[in-house]
């Protein structure tokens, strides 16, 4: 059993990916999201991107295993994500997180940051509500 949660607790950073073209295709088939933006370099270029972007939902899909590996007994009740910069096909991401609120009568709140693997560019910011 994990120790009691405390405000300021840090989740260990973890790398996900690389999100290869094959991984993007597998996600598209599994999710039904076949938006050509994620496969067609010409459409991606029209959106100002040098390579097709990975589905934001594939990035968000990493949150559940990330939290589960950190605290297997935690029950996630809400996920909220804002996609700041696209993650491009072939890239990896680094997830990190921090406990920002612990309450007796409600879920704890984690703030997650998704960065490109260079550690600088923030790709996504998220809040996760868990019952510890």
């Amino acid at each position: 059993m994990s120790p009691a949660l405390a405000q300021g607790d840090v989740l260990p950073p973890r790398l996900f990916g690389p999100f290869t073209a094959e991984a993007v295709v597998a996600y598209a088939q599994a999710s039904g999201d076949d938006n050509p933006l994620h496969f067609d370099p010409d459409i991606a270029a029209r959106a100002g991107l040098e390579r097709p972007p990975v589905h934001g939902m594939l990035i968000m899909g990493c949150f559940e295993p990330y939290i589960g590996a950190w605290r297997p007994e935690a029950k996630i009740v809400k996920l909220s994500a804002k996609f700041i910069r696209p993650v491009l096909t072939g890239d990896r991401i680094e997830l990190s997180g921090k406990v920002v609120r612990v309450a007796q009568d409600g879920p704890a709140v984690l703030r997650l940051t998704v960065r490109g693997e260079n550690g600088r560019d923030i790709a996504c910011l998220a809040e996760i509500f868990i019952v510890p």
């Binding site: 996900f16 991984a23 597998a26 996600y27 088939q29 599994a30 999710s31 039904g32 999201d33 076949d34 938006n35 933006l37 459409i43 029209r46 959106a47 589905h55 934001g56 939902m57 594939l58 968000m60 899909g61 990493c62 949150f63 559940e64 295993p65 589960g68 996630i76 009740v77 809400k78 996920l79 909220s80 994500a81 804002k82 996609f83």
Partner: protein, 128 residues
Amino acid sequence: MSSAPAAALGTFPVSSTAGEAAAFRAATGVESAGDVLPLTFPMRWLVAPEIRAALLDAVADPDVVLVHESQIFDYSHRLRSGESYALSVSARRESAPDRLLVDGVISDASGLELARLETILRLIKAPV
């Protein structure tokens, strides 16, 4: 920023097979137990052909690229493969910036609300 009133796009029956759930788990690395669906799985329902068609009608512009800007899943109960649910979808357009805001409510056969989702899509007018 200006916003049009939300329009109800309909209530759609949704469900998933164990195979669909397993494929989604494999593609996302989620190890949820038994028949419990991954938390982001409802996006699969939102892009189903009849719901997607309703959303594209709401966009009403074939020359825009839809870019996912933000996403919320808010659960009161976990969802399971093999169960049948109803997904009620509404959407509204905003301008400056040009966006489509999509709200979904997932309920069971008794009408009990199980989960809510909010999807915001940025509409980018791309040069052809």
